[in-house]
C-alpha cells in the first residue's frame, strides 16, 4: 500500500487549495478547516486564508490523508511502450504488411486545437521526433480542425483507412468524452469499427480512458509520433500475419 509522502514514509501529507464564496474572517479559516476534515483529512493546517475579493476567500491547506493505494493491482498499460525507430517501423510495415498504412487524423467536434495532432502527423514532428508523414510506411490524411464525426467516418469509409486518429484538447463540460463516444458509436453503427484501429489523443487522454470509451489506444501529454507509429505498426502487422 502506498500513501502520499511528505518527509517521512506513510505520513500521507497533501497540499490543497480552494476558494470559498465567503468573506474572510477567522471563522472562514475554521470553515476551511472543517471542510478539509469533512474530506476525510486529518491534522489539517490552514496555513493561508485571505480575502481575494468581496465575498471570496482563498485557502492553502496542508493535511494528512488516511487514503492508501495498492499500486501492484493498478493496471494502466501505456500505449507508448518500447517505441521503435522510424526505420524499424517502416521495416516492420514493409515486411509484415507489405503496403502503406492509411491513417486519417482530425480534431473532432468544434475543437480547433490542431497543434497536438499536427505534432503527431506533420512531417516535422515533435521534439525532434519525425511525424508520420515522414514515414515510408504511412499514407497520412490530416483533415484538420473542427471535423464533424460524420465527416470523419465518411472519409474513413471512402478511403478505406487503416487507422483513425482523433484529437480532443478542449475538455470543458465533458465535450471530449461526448465527441469521442459519438465517433466510436457511429463507427459501430456503420459497421466499420472492426476494420480499423481507433486511436484517441489529447492532453487529458489516457490509455485507460480510451479503452473505456472503446478505443484501441489513447495517447496523452508528451506523446511522440514514434510512440503512435510503433503502436499502429505493431498492431496492424500482427493483424496482417494473423490473417
Amino acid at each position: 500500500m502506498v500513501r502520499p509522502y511528505g518527509d517521512t514514509h506513510d505520513d500521507g501529507a497533501v497540499q490543497l487549495s480552494f476558494t470559498l464564496p465567503i468573506a474572510w474572517s477567522e471563522a472562514a479559516d475554521e470553515a476551511a478547516r472543517q471542510l478539509a476534515v469533512k474530506m476525510g483529512l486529518t491534522e489539517v493546517s490552514v496555513v493561508e486564508g485571505r480575502a481575494i475579493a468581496a465575498g471570496f476567500s482563498f485557502f492553502v491547506v496542508y493535511a494528512r490523508t488516511p487514503a492508501a493505494i495498492e499500486v501492484s493491482t493498478i493496471r494502466a498499460p501505456s500505449a507508448a511502450d518500447a517505441p521503435l525507430s522510424m526505420e524499424q517501423v517502416d521495416d516492420l510495415i514493409a515486411k509484415r504488411v507489405g503496403r502503406k498504412l492509411k491513417v486519417a487524423g482530425a480534431c473532432i467536434g468544434t475543437d480547433a486545437h490542431t497543434v497536438g495532432i499536427d505534432a503527431i502527423l506533420n512531417m516535422k514532428g515533435y521534439k525532434g521526433d519525425y511525424g508520420l508523414e515522414r514515414y515510408q510506411g504511412f499514407e497520412v490524411f490530416n483533415l484538420g480542425s473542427q471535423i464533424s464525426v460524420e465527416d470523419l467516418v465518411r472519409f474513413a469509409r471512402e478511403r478505406d483507412v487503416d487507422a483513425i486518429l482523433a484529437s480532443q484538447v478542449v475538455t470543458q463540460k465533458g465535450s471530449d468524452i461526448a465527441n469521442f463516444t459519438a465517433l466510436a458509436e457511429l463507427l459501430e453503427a456503420e459497421n466499420v469499427r472492426e476494420r480499423l484501429l481507433l486511436i484517441a489523443g489529447g492532453p487529458r487522454v489516457t490509455n485507460l480512458l480510451a479503452a473505456e470509451l472503446g478505443y484501441d489506444a489513447g495517447f496523452g501529454r508528451g506523446t511522440l509520433p514514434s510512440d503512435v507509429a510503433t503502436f499502429i505498426a505493431r498492431r496492424l502487422s500482427d493483424a496482417a500475419s494473423r490473417r
Binding site: I52, A53, A54, G55, F56, F58, T114, V115, V170, P203
Partner: protein
Amino acid sequence: MELRIDQNAVAGARSLAAAIVDPIVDFVAGHSTLSVERAVTRLCGVDGVDGEGVPLPNRLVDALARPGLGVARALGAALAETGRSPQQVAEAVAAGEPLPDPERTPEGALRAALRSHVDAGLARIDAARGTRDAMLARLPQDEPPLLYVIVASGNIYEDRTAAVAAAEAGAQIIAVIRSTAQSLLDYVPYGATTEGFGGTYATQENFRIMRAALDEISERLGRYVMLTNYASGLCMPEIAATAALERLDMLLNDSMYGILFRDINMQRTFVDQHFSRQLNARSGIVINTGEDNYLTTADAVEQAPAVLASQFVNEAFARRAGLPDAQMGLGDAYEIDPDLRDGFLLQVAQAQLARQIFPNAPLKYMPPTKHMTGNIFKGHLIDAMFNLTSVMTHQTIHLCGMLTEAIHTPFLGDRALALENARYVMNTARSFGDEIEIKPGGRIEQRAHEVLSGAVHILSGVAQRGLMNAIEDGTFADVRRPRDGGRGYDGVFVKEAAYWNPFADALGGVTVRA
C-alpha cells in the same frame, strides 16, 4: 534601458507596410460586406431578433435587392415612404414585407429621412466616449502595465461575479472571452446568455450587463475598470458598432487573424476590418491585434520577425482607418520555450524592440500559453518572468498569465493568484528596466537587430508580391488561404456607384490612399 536600433530599417519597414496596405485599402474602398451593412442598421437603432431568433439586422440586410447600393439607401427610402423608424422597418421586413426599391425615392429625401437616426447613432457613440473620458478623469487607472484578465465561464452572470472579483483583486481590464467559434457565426447572438462553451457569447445585452457591473465596481474602487471583447470574425463591424454603443474600451481586432487562423475570406476580412477600425477610432476604443497567434502555433524564436512584420502591417492599416497611435494595442506574446537557455534575453529584446519602434502605441503583451503545462508551480514562475519582462520594457496592456493555463479556463482563485503575481513582480522590480542599460552590441541588441531585419525581409517580399498573393502563398503562419476561399466570401460585394454609407462618410479615416 534602450536598444540602439537602426532607424533607417524602421523607416524602411514602415514605408514597406504602407506600400503593402495601400492597394488593399484601395480595394476596400470599392467593396462592402453584409456585416458592414448590418453594422449600419445597428447604428441606426435596429436591434432584436425575429421569431426564429434571427437578428433583425440580418433579416433587413438579407432582404436587400441590391446590396451594392448599401443598406442605408434602402432604409432611408423605407423611412421616407412609410414614416417608420428603422426598427419598425426591420420588424416589418422580418414579418415578410418587402423593402421598397430605393431608386423610387429621391436621393435628398432618403438621406434626409435617415439623417436623425445617423446622428443619433453617432451621438450615442460620442456620448459613450465622453462618459469614458469623464470617468477616466475622475477615476484614474493605476499606472501601466494595465493588468488584464479574462473571464470565460460561459455564463454572463458567473462572468460578472468573476469580473467584479478580479477588479477587486487588481484587474484594470476585463475581457469576456467568446464562446468557441463565435467568430464563425455570420450574426451576433442576442440577449443575456448563460450557455457558452469555453467562453460567453458576445451580445449587446451581455456587454451592457458587464459594463454596468464594472461601472459600479469602478466607482467603488475609485479607478475605472475597462471592458473588452473580441471583434475579429465574420461580424467584426457589428461588434465594433455594438461595443461603441455600450462603451467597451478595447476590442480584439487584427487585420489578418480571421484569415489565417479562422479561415475567413481575406476580402471579407479586409473590408470588415477597415470599417470596424473607423468605428473604433470614433469611439475611442483601443484595438488589440493578434500577433500572439503566430507564436502559439509555431516556434516563437523563429516567428519573432513575423510578429514584428504583422505589427507594422496592423499599424499601417490602422493609420489608414484614422486610428491614432494611442489606440493601437499592437500585440506580442511571451511564448519562447521556457527551457531554452537565455530565452529570457530574447523575450526582453523583442518586447523592448516593439516598445521603441511603436513608442506611442499601448502595446498589448500576451502571456505564456503554449508551454504551460499541468505543473502549475512552474507555470506560475514562467508567468513571473513574463511579468518582469513586461514591467521592464514598459508594455501597456498586460494580459495576466494563469498558472492553470494548460488546464481550464480560469477559476476565480486562479485569477487572484495571477493578479498577485503581476502585482508582486511589477512592484518589487518597478523601476528595474530604467536602472539598467542593455550592453551595446551584446546578445540582446543583436537579437533585436536580427528580428528587425527579419521583419524588413518579410515585408519587402510581401510588398513585392502584394499582400493577397503573399497570403495565398503561405507567407504568414505557414497557412495558405485562397483569395476567394474561406468563410464569408459570399458576403462581400462591390459597391455600386450610388453606394451610400453615412457612417463611413462621417467617420472619416483615410479610405482612399492619402
